[in-house]
């Protein structure tokens, strides 16, 4: 009985039919990723091999070394882009988590006029597609004096409607009595937020952190549109120039693959470590 149905506890023969298509599906999904990993470690002669082979025979770190050497010939070394990306990502993750937590708490547990309107606007913005408003955003960046500033990497990414939505839904699950008890004990809103709410919503905050990380770590818009000085651009942007410049030359493939791997792996590793927290958050993600 426990071997069939939703969320079975034990393996049962009847589950084989699901594996029959889930496994091939997983293989199809994996091949492009496997390709990137293999290419990143291929030595030059294997990159030139015809017909191309998926698996690497003599793995080498040359592509990674070249990735950092190619750029040290030019004015800006790759390490500079990497540092820019690290600072950008840390700022975006920390600030957007705090913003989502504070706003989620207010929208979930406080009562004031206009609250429902705010919630509705944010729910509508779940469907917000950044590219649709690229033009006004560009002029707003100029107006705020952020053009050619490092902060142009960070500031436009701070408001994450999906993040706020998930956090608010998660806080909705906490009993109101919890907040009321803290108020009776004389706690201020700031104390309630940091001492009561935040410790209880860690799964939701980890999820927001992961989403913010993905957005910030792979973002290229600011570097292509708002920033001219190469010193301030991000690693993702640097990798994207590699793939354009070296696109169809075989030697460039290895370097571009090495760069892509450095972009992709942190995302994947973070998700693997936090997947149970993400799944916990997603349980409350329904829109009623």
């Amino acid at each position: 009985m426990w071997g069939t149905g939703i969320n079975p506890r034990y393996f049962h023969r009847s589950q084989l039919k699901f594996y029959a298509y889930l496994l091939p599906m997983a293989v199809v999904m994996l091949i492009p990723i496997l390709y990137i990993i293999m290419t990143a470690f291929k030595p030059a002669e294997e990159l030139y091999a015809f017909p191309p082979k998926l698996f690497v025979r003599n793995p080498t770190l040359n592509n990674f070394v070249n990735l950092f050497q190619v750029s040290s010939d030019t004015a800006v070394p790759a390490s500079r882009y990497l540092v820019n990306s690290l600072i950008t990502t840390v700022c975006v993750v920390v600030l957007s988590v705090i913003f989502s937590a504070a706003t989620g708490y207010v929208l979930s547990k406080k009562h004031f006029r206009g609250k429902n309107t705010l919630l509705e606007i944010n729910n509508m913005a779940l469907m917000f597609v950044g590219v649709a408003v690229a033009i006004p955003r560009y002029y707003i960046i100029i107006f705020l004096g952020l053009k050619n500033s490092f902060w142009a990497n960070v500031i436009p990414l701070l408001a994450m409607p999906v993040g706020l939505f998930l956090v608010k839904q998660f806080i909705d699950q906490l009993p109101d009595a919890l907040v009321e008890a803290a108020v009776i004990d004389g706690a201020t809103d700031f104390q309630i937020l940091f001492k009561v709410i935040i410790p209880l919503i860690k799964p939701a905050l980890s999820t927001v952190a992961i989403m913010a990380f993905q957005t910030a770590w792979t973002a290229t818009e600011a570097s292509t549109q708002y920033i001219e000085s190469s010193n301030l651009k991000t690693f993702a942007f640097y990798i994207s120039t590699l793939s354009n410049a070296t696109g169809n030359t075989v030697a460039g493939q290895g370097i571009a693959a090495a760069g892509s791997l450095l972009l992709f792996l942190p995302n994947l590793i973070l998700f693997i470590f936090m997947q149970s927290q993400v799944m916990n958050t997603m349980t409350h993600s329904g829109i009623k």
Binding site: M29, V133, A159, P161, T220, L268, T283
Partner: protein, 297 residues
């Protein structure tokens, strides 16, 4: 002062988010609508021209009507609707197997959605590369299915289907995780009750029990599918390496807008296209709300 601060601390807590949200999401949408009624070449001040951009878009823009709109519809149908159905089927199937293999497979299926724009061009650019060194060409040549390599990404015939395949590959994202969590979290007693009430097979079970129970997550998943579809629609220019795409074969609304905004510098007209895009997204969400939203209560 301190009393006011204490009473209104919720405003202080919300302020950073509301400020950022207004500046980078709300105001841009409003400004887009405003600019769409002007002629604006990004050098001179915008000149008010009434509805002329919209009239131009609907009556005079052959590329928009003959290429961009049909392409966007086909792409939206396959990637939006198809990707969504795929997400649900995969989530449901994963819920039928035991925990450890489920987690491993879920991570694998989800990982392509982490790759984003930069990786797309590198991985798929080489698989569909136009010379004999491209993986697909090499395979087809080896099996003697073709005699000369095909320029996949420059071909008007193949570009749109390739864009759809690539986008479907990365379509199992947050919505997929949400639906998986929702299905796993469903009340087991309802399934028991269903069996007693005469549910005969798994298909009936999905229609009458699983879907109604997971409706809220399915609505969230649908909204994520819409966002994902319109966001990823820049993939044509990434793959082909040019905007406009060869013969406008992979031109979607987003590319058309960028073409006018950043290449032809007609910001007013580009804004009108952006507004058309926002309206399209809104219409999709209305359809989705009709389908899922108001049924439960």
């Amino acid at each position: 002062m301190q009393k006011w601060f204490k009473k209104h601390s919720y405003i202080v807590l919300m302020a950073p988010y509301v400020l950022m949200f207004s500046i980078f999401i709300l105001i841009p949408v409003v400004v887009s609508v405003g600019l769409s009624f002007t002629y604006f070449n990004s050098v001179e001040m915008p000149k008010f021209t009434g509805l002329s951009n919209y009239i131009q878009l609907i009556t005079n823009d052959d590329i928009f009507m003959q290429k961009v709109l049909p392409n966007t519809l086909i792409y939206g149908l396959f990637v939006g609707v198809g990707g969504y159905v795929l997400s649900f089927i995969m989530a449901w199937s994963l819920a039928q197997i035991t925990r450890v293999p489920r987690t491993i497979l879920a991570v694998i299926l989800y990982s392509p959605s982490l790759t984003g724009g930069v990786l797309l061009s590198i991985v798929w650019g080489v698989i569909f590369s136009g010379d004999a060194n491209g993986y697909l060409n090499a395979l087809l040549l080896k099996w003697n299915w073709i005699e000369t390599p095909i320029l996949w990404l420059q071909s008007e015939k193949y570009l749109l289907p390739i864009m759809i395949i690539v986008s479907l590959w990365s379509s199992l994202g947050v919505g997929f995780l949400s639906m998986l969590a929702g299905i796993l979290n469903a009340d087991e007693e309802v399934y028991e009750a269903g069996r007693i009430d005469g549910i005969k097979n798994r298909f009936q079970e999905v229609i009458y029990i699983t879907i109604p129970q997971v409706m809220p997550q399915m609505l969230f998943g649908a909204i994520m599918a819409i966002t994902g579809t319109f966001t990823s629609s820049g993939v044509g220019t990434v793959l082909s390496g040019s905007n406009p795409t060869p013969g406008y074969a992979g031109q979607l609304i987003v590319n058309h807008m960028e073409d006018y905004a950043f290449i032809r510098m007609e910001m007013g007209y580009a804004s009108a296209i952006a507004v058309a895009l926002l309206i399209a997204i809104r219409l999709c969400s209305n359809v989705v709300n009709r389908l899922f939203g108001e049924r439960g209560d």
